[in-house]
Amino acid sequence: MFYPIQLLADWLTYTVFGIIPKTLLASAVNFFIFDTIKIFILLAGIIFIVSIIRSYLPPEKIRVILSRKNKYIGNVPASLLGIITPFCSCSAIPLFLGFVQAGVPLGTTFSFLIASPMINEVALVLLLGLFGWKIAIIYIVTGLIISILSGVVIGSLKVENLVESFVYENSVNGNNLELPSLSRIERINYALDYTTDILKKVWPYILVGIGLGAWIHGYLPADFLVEYAGSGKWYAVPLAVLIGIPLYSNAAGVIPLVSALTEKGVSMGTTLAFMMSVTALSLPEFMILKKVMKIKLIFIFAGIVSVGIVFTGYLFNIILK
């Protein structure tokens, strides 16, 4: 499918730039050009498609679906719907309040809040483009399981008392909300706007990520990191999760970088855990959530998700050897 892009990358590297084939420089430049073009084509296509779907299912409609669901069953659709919802930490509070005040159970709300940033379209494109569809599917499925189970656990802990009291003082009825109806043209415009908005935001990170990745690909020896981060090192997974927490805003740059690191000996489970930590555990989001819940609940939430991610890391370090 990407064969024409490879031809273009070859032509640019060897003919236009005149780099001698089979050198380290050629390998790095060729890798950079090929990956960059491929990723941007995938990004534009997939974000556009997801935005069109989303224009039919905004969070306000999702809330109506979820508020009718049973306490535990709701975690499954909540996590699935989280996939198509974009997550910006600026919407964390209105989402949380909007769900809880409309009667969506706390555990279900958390399932959504975990899945939404963790399984986002930008991460998916990068996984698909740089790791292949198998890893992308493993990431989606384990991500879903983590969000569903974390939500179920939080729901069963009866931690409603750790939510700030003002949250439960108001209630909203989301059922008869009239959203401005959209024509087909408006949906397409919305999707185009959204796609350019995201691309504008992530392109520098992706370029830097792929650039560093290309350098690593071309210049670092193949087993460079085995000694430090191979699957035999027990501390690699928790360490990767810890490093991932403050990196959220750079997810777009981090994924291309780690894709190159896996070639150099970082094991796949550790890589998966790292990427999940980068997307699902975000320091700015935790700070913002302090407005609506006690710190203890934020720790419980982060703790449960971290345990899930660390477990995933160890599991795939064993399975994908």
Partner: protein
């Protein structure tokens, strides 16, 4: 081309994030270009968003009616949205 309207209430409500401020600034510029003399309001009261039944930030309202939810459009599109709703 310019429509001269008064007593319009344009308000940007957001959580105070970058995107919200950017939308506020863009709205001010567009309002001026559309000949709207009333000041554009800026609020960080999230409860207003939730009370309207919405769940994304930022929100732009024209006379308390939400016309744009959860995104930052480019200038031309914003102009189109505002002029459609005044």
């Amino acid at each position: 081309m310019q429509t001269l309207k008064n007593n319009m209430k344009l308000e940007v409500i957001g959580s105070g994030c970058k995107k919200c401020k950017a939308l506020f600034e863009l709205t001010e510029i567009v309002a001026k270009e559309l000949g709207i003399h009333d000041t554009v309001l800026y609020s960080t009261d999230i409860n207003k968003i939730v009370a309207m039944g919405l769940m994304s930030s930022p929100v732009l309202t024209v006379n308390d009616k939400p016309v744009l939810v959860g995104m930052l459009p480019d200038k031309e599109r914003l102009k189109e949205i505002i002029s459609k709703n005044i």
